[in-house]
Point group: C2
Chain length 178, copies 2
C-alpha cells in the first residue's frame, strides 16, 4: 500500500512561502549545523510528488536538490517543458492525486514525499497522507502561501513527537488518524 | 512598564474557534488531568483584555472563569450591557489597544493577559505583546477564526520553550523580538 508523507516548514502563522514564493525569511532562520531530520526522512522515500509552484521554485536553484524521482502535478506543464538537465529526474502529469498515487504504486513505489502547499492540501483532502512532519519557524509573516486550507471535515491528528532546536525551530510529527 | 501576554490554543491549522465561535473540537481534546500551565500563567497576570467575541463566549458559560478584572474592547458594548452577576468583574471600552494599556497602567496594572483572535492580532500589530504561549491542538478544522492575521511587517519571535502532552497538545512559548 502506497502512502504519502509530508515534511515541510512553515512560519508560526502557517505560511510556507510569501505570495511571490519567497522563502528568504525561512532560509535566514535555518541553521545548517542543526540536523532537522530531512536526510533521515528522505532515506525512506522512493518518490516525490509536488505541484507546479514547488517545482518552479526548485527548478531555478543552482542544483537540483532531489535524489528521488519527482512527479509534478500540473494542469499546464508537460514533460517537454523540463530543462534538458532534468531529463529522467522529473516527469509531469495532469493526473488527480489518487491517479498519481496509483501510477506510482504500479511502478513499485511505496513511500511518497508530498511537497508544496496546494498539493499537501489536496492530498490531505483525498486522504492520501499518512503522516506529517511540520517545522514551525519562529516568525509571523502575516500573508503568503498557506500550508493548510479548507477540509471537507475535521482531520484528527495523532501527535507522535516534538522537538525544538537552538535556532528556534519547533518540529512536530503527526500521523493522520485513520 | 505594562506588557501584554498571550496564552491561547489553536488547531494545528491556526484557528482558535470555528466561524460560529464553537470550540467543541478543542474541549474534546483537552485532558483535564494534564497541567497545561494556565494556573501558573494567570498567577502573574493582573488584568485581562479581550474582544467582544471572546467575551460573548465566556459570558454564556455557567461560571465566569476569570479571577482578574476584565476589560473588553468593543465598539458597541457598554458597561450597562454587563449582566448584573458580572458587576465589578468586567468593564467595556472603545479605546484603542494603546489607550487601553495606558489606562490599565495608570491603574497600577503591569501584566495583562490579552485574549481572543482579533485582539491578539491588533495588539501584535501595535507592538503591545511581550510573549505568547501557543498550544497547538492536534486537528485540522480547515476554517474558522484565525489566531493570527495580517502584520505590517514580519514579526520575528524568540523561541523560549516547547513541551508536548500525552493528549497530543504541543505548547510553545515565544518572546516577541524587540
Amino acid at each position: 500500500m502506497i502512502t504519502g508523507h509530508v515534511f515541510i516548514a512553515a512560519s508560526l502563522d502557517g505560511f510556507i512561502a510569501r505570495s511571490d514564493g519567497d522563502i528568504g525569511w525561512l532560509l535566514e532562520r535555518d541553521d545548517p549545523s542543526e540536523d532537522h531530520g530531512y536526510a533521515a526522512f528522505i532515506q525512506d522515500i522512493d518518490a516525490i510528488l509536488m505541484g507546479r509552484g514547488s517545482y518552479e521554485t526548485v527548478r531555478d536553484m543552482p542544483e537540483w536538490p532531489y535524489t528521488r524521482p519527482v512527479l509534478v502535478l500540473s494542469q499546464t506543464l508537460r514533460d517537454r517543458d523540463a530543462p534538458a538537465a532534468l531529463a529522467g529526474k522529473v516527469r509531469f502529469t495532469d493526473m488527480s492525486p489518487e491517479q498519481a498515487m496509483r501510477m506510482l504504486e504500479a511502478e513499485g513505489r511505496r513511500r511518497v514525499y508530498v511537497d508544496g502547499g496546494r498539493i499537501v492540501q489536496s492530498f490531505l483532502r483525498a486522504g492520501l497522507i499518512a503522516d506529517m512532519t511540520i517545522t514551525h519557524v519562529p516568525v509571523l509573516i502575516g500573508t503568503g502561501r498557506s500550508l493548510f486550507g479548507a477540509v471537507p471535515s475535521d482531520i484528527p491528528l495523532i501527535h507522535e513527537a516534538t522537538r525544538s532546536f537552538p535556532s528556534g525551530l519547533v518540529q512536530s510529527r503527526y500521523r493522520i488518524a485513520p
